[in-house]
Symmetry: none
Subunit: 135 residues, 4 copies
DNA sequence: GTGGTCTAGACCACC
DNA sequence: GTGGTCTAGACCACG
């Protein structure tokens, strides 16, 4: 788990952490049941206040990504979204729309866009496969 | 100029606007000399305070991306270095990855994801068609 | 919206606030769209730190009970749970179990318990009816 | 002595234990002179640290609810004032109301709610039957 | 040691 | 004025 923060992006630090942990989970770099770095040392390492790390972890817990056991630590949950199908699709559509708008701004056409999506999906699948059997 | 704002991302609205205009400019979607929408109608269309739009434009001017001629409007300045294809794809991949990560946590599989991407692309194409020939 | 805090109960203050707001919404004392007290004045009135109120409101927003519009205020959302049926029943079972255990400790039998549940359901329905048409 | 702990409620575990023992004592579910489970097995059964159980018992002793005879165990002291029926129903109503509020926000209707209550009551009766004649 | 709550006070984005 | 983020530092519950 290597976290990299950008203090000038305007994006809140705690949300940067949330997104990176979620990405690590999605790519298999973090496996279900695995423990996350504990709050205090991580805060020191990132040169950020303890509360900021705690806020990131609280957000992750409320999203059902991790579980925090007081006195023990924080652990990645086996995933399983609790949401209705429609809600899941709506949440996902927001992210997809952001990508489509970016493609439009970057003058990337539909064909090229779909090809790129396919490529990135492959990349993630390969990462996950590798993470499971890291021979 | 298609601008898509996310009021919940934590990223300041005016920065979202700045980044999108810069991306459009760097990729040629906006041409040098082209005029940007004026503040008041744009603020209405985006349902945002005029101050926010003004702040975004001020930031863009201070970064040398646009030029504001008081009384005439804002215009895109000559474009130093348009992005190369690889750079564009890399920037776009970041957005696509965000969507893929979200899909993973929402337990949306590859099939359903691709179907949803197609749907959203259709929605945007319809929007654009409407915008070109509005009633 | 009258909030009453117990600083000695051991239950975190911000959770007491969350529960009371949810109760107010369920009883109709707070109607969808209605605005909640703003953070700073409420903090003063309750003699609690601003951050504590903010944390309560953040929790309510993450539970989908309220919506907070920066610069405008916080508002009660029209309710509609985003969860799957199974998840809803599981979450609800936890609350029901707590009541059943309490009944056991208080030597209240099944018959009397069910009668009491019915009574309380009636009370809430009457409150809601009254709140809608407060002739 | 049936103890049900909620590790996510925010309320300290040892206080949950104290409150449940007090409720059981005040209603007669626990009789004066009756012995409480000893610390080690209880801690195991509840999957809780022995220190936590010890802290709960210490608190109960300091409140005069139980008496600990070192080497012998803990015993319920003579019970000053058992709750009257109205008091019991009022205490119970608080728990029931919490469940009803939760049901409202989870969009669970009266029918489904009552069905779920019945289900959970059955579950607990089965548990108790098992506890009396264990294998 | 772990995570969680609360306070106090600063600064930012937005209306 | 509104809500949101971050810091600094104290205290608590739990293992």
């Amino acid at each position: 788990m290597l976290l990299q923060l950008n203090f000038k992006s305007g994006k809140p630090v705690y949300l940067q952490m949330v997104d990176q942990v979620k990405a690590a989970a999605a790519s298999g770099a973090l496996q279900p049941g695995e423990s996350l770095p504990s709050i205090r040392p991580l805060a020191e390492q990132l040169r950020v206040n303890r509360n900021t790390v705690a806020k990131a972890y609280a957000e992750l817990e409320s999203q059902g990504v991790i579980e925090s056991l007081p006195g023990k630590g924080c652990f990645l949950k086996a995933n399983g979204s609790p949401f209705k199908r429609e809600v899941r699709q709506q949440l996902l559509s927001e992210e997809i729309d952001a990508a489509i708008v970016q493609a439009h701004h970057l003058q990337v056409g539909r064909e090229e866009f779909l090809k790129l999506v396919d490529q990135r999906l492959d990349v993630f699948e390969q990462k996950r496969a590798k993470a499971i059997s890291p021979a």
